[in-house]
Amino acid sequence: MKKFLKLCPTFGLLLGFCPSLAVTTAVSNALGMGLAFTFVLTFSNFFVSLLRRVIPEGARIPLFIIIIVTFVTISDMLLAGFVPDLYKALGIFVPLIVVNCIILGRAEAFAYKNTVGAAVRDGLLNGFWFTVGLVILAVIREALGAGTLLGYPIFSANFTPILLFVLPPGGFLLIGFILAYLNEDKRA
């Protein structure tokens, strides 16, 4: 269990906290965010790796950003065009994928130094585990904070949702508890 959770960049690397806190109030938002994120990460890894001999060392960060921005813009327009409700729910957090530290981190630490195949594989895997992390958070927060999963009620009618869990402090508390669980063995 711990091994799997640590594969998720949110819990293993403590990166990507902004979307992990902001969009995990509902499972549908978490899934949408995870997919958009995986799309951007895979393609940005692909192009960074492909162009790694052309991109000069000194100007690499701006060039990474330009590559990332391209795919963020594409995913932004796709979401707005095909799933407008989800797009509205995610709001500013889709454009904010540009500055997501996991994507820039993978471009800098992995894709810039590895072959195209390995970079794409890295993008897909990180995207997958990031989505898993988001969904874990979202399942707990939506169930306790709204009493629903994917919008469907899961408790009896007289269940009173604990609103705190869909508010920012609930997200912080939950991530804190998960991290405490993951780091537990360090005390021994």
Binding site: L163, P169, L173
Partner: protein
């Protein structure tokens, strides 16, 4: 903290246990008042809060492998104080959840007694207010448990008539009058233990007499609110008596762990609480601001302690 005089140090003979016992004695009048005004409901609410707090403390001590837990009675005090700042009509399981949050997250996870940053009871209340806003803002009238608004909420919505001159009933179609005598005795809607100014002042007098609390914090807090309201052309007496100000100033803001060590720190802390409470009451989104103002000033306590620590070097 680390501000100590040069050794040797004398133990005053006052233990945490004795202090907490004194606080519980001081809370007794307000507890009795809540029993009079809200009936057996008060006993249930206090019982559930104390029970959940003590049980959580016990389980947390087991989990963190601590010794000498529960002896200091601090969990009992937290439970009683939490019950005092909750609406009497609150479902009991919510009260229990608030007590668990107060002890486990606000107190034990920060290191337990003496290490918590925030006042546990107020932290528990803030958690409940964020989680169940409807339940935490539903107030009932004493004796007949009819749902009504608190005097502060009425004042905020402009429905409260000034009843200084005519202290009897002065209700019109638009507003309700608050009788100052009722406000003083506690015969108004509000949290369980905050309504009776008389009972709280009795308890506070005991604490001051026993030197359990420092007079600077309540005086600074109440004085700031009084001055602020005076210059804002508000009714000073009403704002001192209404809401949780007396309970907060004497029993919450004076908590040893979450208030500054030095005299200067205490003054800054108390005045900050007073300004924040007044600002929230007059211009904030909530009718009452005692809970949040103390919690906000709690965050400054480590800084205020450092301020004088740096100077003393």
């Amino acid at each position: 903290m680390k501000i100590l005089a040069v050794s040797p140090h004398l133990h005053s003979g006052v233990s945490t246990q004795v202090l907490m016992r004194d606080v519980l004695i001081a809370l007794l009048p307000a507890g009795l008042a809540s029993l009079v005004f809200f009936g057996w409901r008060a006993v249930w609410l206090i019982g559930v809060c104390v029970g959940a707090a003590v049980l959580t403390e016990y389980l947390a001590a087991q989990f963190f492998k601590k010794k000498n837990y529960l002896n200091d009675c601090s969990a009992v005090v937290t439970g009683v104080l939490l019950a005092f700042v909750l609406p009497p009509s609150l479902p009991l399981w919510m009260a229990a959840l608030g007590a668990v949050f107060a002890i486990l997250l606000v107190k034990e996870l920060f290191g337990g007694l003496g290490h918590n940053i925030f006042n546990p009871a107020l932290g528990g209340r803030a958690f409940l207010l964020a989680s169940f806003p409807v339940w935490l803002t539903t107030w009932t009238r004493p004796f007949d448990a009819v749902t009504t608004a608190t005097p502060l909420a009425l004042a905020k919505s402009g429905q409260l008539l000034d009843a200084v001159s005519r202290a009897t009933v002065q209700a019109s179609a638009a507003g309700q009058a608050v009788n100052y005598w009722d406000l003083f005795l506690g015969n108004v809607a509000g949290s369980l233990g905050e309504t009776s100014a008389l009972a709280l002042l009795l308890g506070a007098a005991y604490l001051l007499y026993r030197q359990v609390i420092d007079w600077r914090i309540p005086l600074g807090y109440l004085g700031t609110v009084a001055l602020f309201m005076f210059f804002a052309h508000e009714n000073v007496a009403f704002h001192l008596l209404a809401g949780g100000l007396l309970l907060g100033a004497f029993f919450m803001a004076t908590d040893y762990t979450t208030s500054p060590m030095t005299r200067r720190g205490k003054w800054i802390f108390a005045i900050g609480c007073g300004i924040l409470t007044s600002v929230i009451r007059l211009w904030g989104g909530y009718p009452e601001g005692v809970c949040y103002s103390i919690l906000i000033m709690n965050m400054f306590v480590p800084l205020l302690d450092r301020l004088d620590e740096a100077k003393s070097k």
